[in-house]
Symmetry: D5
Subunit: 96 residues, 10 copies
Amino acid sequence: MQFMLNIDVKLPHELSDEERDGLRTRENKRAIELIRSGHLIHIWRCVGTTANFSVWEADSFEDLHKILQSLPMFPYMNIAVTPIMRHPVTEAYESA
Amino acid sequence: MQFMLNIDVKLPHELSDEERDGLRTRENKRAIELIRSGHLIHIWRCVGTTANFSVWEADSFEDLHKILQSLPMFPYMNIAVTPIMRHPVTEAYESA
Amino acid sequence: MQFMLNIDVKLPHELSDEERDGLRTRENKRAIELIRSGHLIHIWRCVGTTANFSVWEADSFEDLHKILQSLPMFPYMNIAVTPIMRHPVTEAYESA
Amino acid sequence: MQFMLNIDVKLPHELSDEERDGLRTRENKRAIELIRSGHLIHIWRCVGTTANFSVWEADSFEDLHKILQSLPMFPYMNIAVTPIMRHPVTEAYESA
Amino acid sequence: MQFMLNIDVKLPHELSDEERDGLRTRENKRAIELIRSGHLIHIWRCVGTTANFSVWEADSFEDLHKILQSLPMFPYMNIAVTPIMRHPVTEAYESA
Amino acid sequence: MQFMLNIDVKLPHELSDEERDGLRTRENKRAIELIRSGHLIHIWRCVGTTANFSVWEADSFEDLHKILQSLPMFPYMNIAVTPIMRHPVTEAYESA
Amino acid sequence: MQFMLNIDVKLPHELSDEERDGLRTRENKRAIELIRSGHLIHIWRCVGTTANFSVWEADSFEDLHKILQSLPMFPYMNIAVTPIMRHPVTEAYESA
Amino acid sequence: MQFMLNIDVKLPHELSDEERDGLRTRENKRAIELIRSGHLIHIWRCVGTTANFSVWEADSFEDLHKILQSLPMFPYMNIAVTPIMRHPVTEAYESA
Amino acid sequence: MQFMLNIDVKLPHELSDEERDGLRTRENKRAIELIRSGHLIHIWRCVGTTANFSVWEADSFEDLHKILQSLPMFPYMNIAVTPIMRHPVTEAYESA
Amino acid sequence: MQFMLNIDVKLPHELSDEERDGLRTRENKRAIELIRSGHLIHIWRCVGTTANFSVWEADSFEDLHKILQSLPMFPYMNIAVTPIMRHPVTEAYESA
């Protein structure tokens, strides 16, 4: 099953440049693993901001929660989770 | 270029069942045309609501606007448009 | 898997008393069927309002969506869907 | 009588990892006591976030307030309290 | 136990003057009964608006809900319910 | 004349436990004085939160403002002030 | 004592042009009476909108409420009432 | 031309008492100059809060902006600017 | 002096197609006159919506208000008015 | 293609005066470069605030994002991005 996430990241001003760079490197590395494992299906940067839209696949809610908690930037994320499903238009298109 | 749209449809209570059915049939037909023409890339139903998330491809802003205006339900839609782009994580993944 | 729903019902003023009563009777009947089928697990009235909190069980997002659409008052509902899961405290309690 | 609570926890960034772990351990311990005493009836994690929905039983408002204040993380919680009651659908189901 | 209610009344424009007057007469009559029965403890008009603050006493949530539903203007009310209790300052004052 | 106040207190995390206790002691002392002087008529704790509803009597706006500024926790309060008056229902009740 | 009011007027679309003109004529006439009686001290149009800011003088809250209710457009107004008083800067200016 | 401003001042908790007092003294002094120069026409304290409503006269937008920036507390102000003009009621009153 | 306006137009569902077309024709004609007279400096459609951003020049607030009121769709517009001025960056650019 | 941006800048209180001045100097220098390169088409200060409206030209979303990220104050900006296009009124004006 799939989820649309709208994630906004706000790093606290107190973090040093090194801490930020370290966080970003670890965040990217973890995200790539999740693309490889088939959990992170799509991710788009919202132009001009630090937010993104992303589509996630998970076998269960527990699965999704564990995955998100494994992101190094999770403590600094504001996450809106929307369960999504195929739209009737897609089915109509495929059967046409 | 691509856009994430969050569209919520609110049909006025005054519409008869026939008018609603007619609208839905024409809306579906037009949406299928737009999938075929490569403009409507993804569309997901938000579970339990009348809203959807959808990803659109257009050559220009004028193009996107004309396409949305061509939807029979456009007058009843509340549309939030977010310009989106590839996320750095996708590039890191592809080059890895 | 389970979902917390916060549903607010706003019937349009134009409905006659008969239409309202008919809707309520059919809504109740359908809700009882969904309790019996194990889909509607909990439902509470929010005191002093026309809203409720309810916990739903469904095998899939498609399943939940079909169930909600089958409610006679669905066109008049404003529904907030939150995916929920066991809280770590529950597990700690059970293993204790 | 029962209450639906929507609790969001925001720990300040200044807390050390030790302070966080200590808080979590004490919070879990207290929550388990409250499950045992029959005050905390249900608790669900909102998937992907640090928030929860929970149903509480208390003999009085004073009782509920004292219980919530006894939670070690209370100073960091944003709590929405909704008084809830049996929904007419439940009664219709039971009498059917 | 007691509740602070903030009630805003919005009568639909379609009501005739007679219907409004009838509603107001019946609303006042019912409110006076509820003052007499000890359920409506305080009620204040918010100056310059159609809203009020009011303090209600009820033996149970079911009791409060039934009382509010018995108000002839209930279908036109937007009600915010806040459970309230004695403030520690009151106790300190009384024991002083 | 009377005012309904909804006051939410947010003490900054930086305060030491001693500073908090000191503030609370002085706040309580001042509040008791204001009950005695007939300015603080009612005060209720909003269950499960750090907010309160309170009814104040003052001879003038200047009077009310000075009183509120004299509260030791004033700098940490978010205050919503609503001028209130007798509701027509109360008059109808008294003349009945 | 004085009040700052922010009033937004929304006439329902159903009113005929005659009804609107009649309302406006009566509203203006009543407003002029209230300027003459010293209750309406200042009134400014918010540029480009149907809203206004206005300063009112009244002997009591009951007085202000009665005055506002006497406005023919009162049923179509959304009114925000803020109690105001002399600012310390004015006193400093006058004593300087 | 004139402007209605709604200004809320939030001094950061980190400021020492001396810094606050210094700021207030300089703020008052500058405000008095602006009353004298005919720029600050009216200013009212919103009862029970740190906000004010004020009416400003300026020859141009650049003029108003420079004036506001010259206030010592400008960096701590949240300012809402509404262009205002004579209300038709005032003209009707004067010509009557 | 100049103003940024964000205008959203919501035509009521009750208007017939002819009334809508008539309104649009008259609106366009009036807007062209205002471009010619130098009052409407810029206007942009917000992609995918019925809203626009526009920059207006006017000699006075009264002037701007009269112009906006002369738009045939004015009764159906929600207008946010922001006074704007040259940004320091423009001056730095021109003097460089 | 063009974008309307509404940018609000909030510098953290912790920055020293030197850091602020340095930031402003670099921000201005970068903005002037972007005016010269034809990316920053218009920029207006919102009177009385630290916000601005600005119109940007970019060849692609990636282009716009890179440009915004190159602004020294980007980490302290809250940016709302609205894709904009020629309004039909402009075309009607030009063809008239």
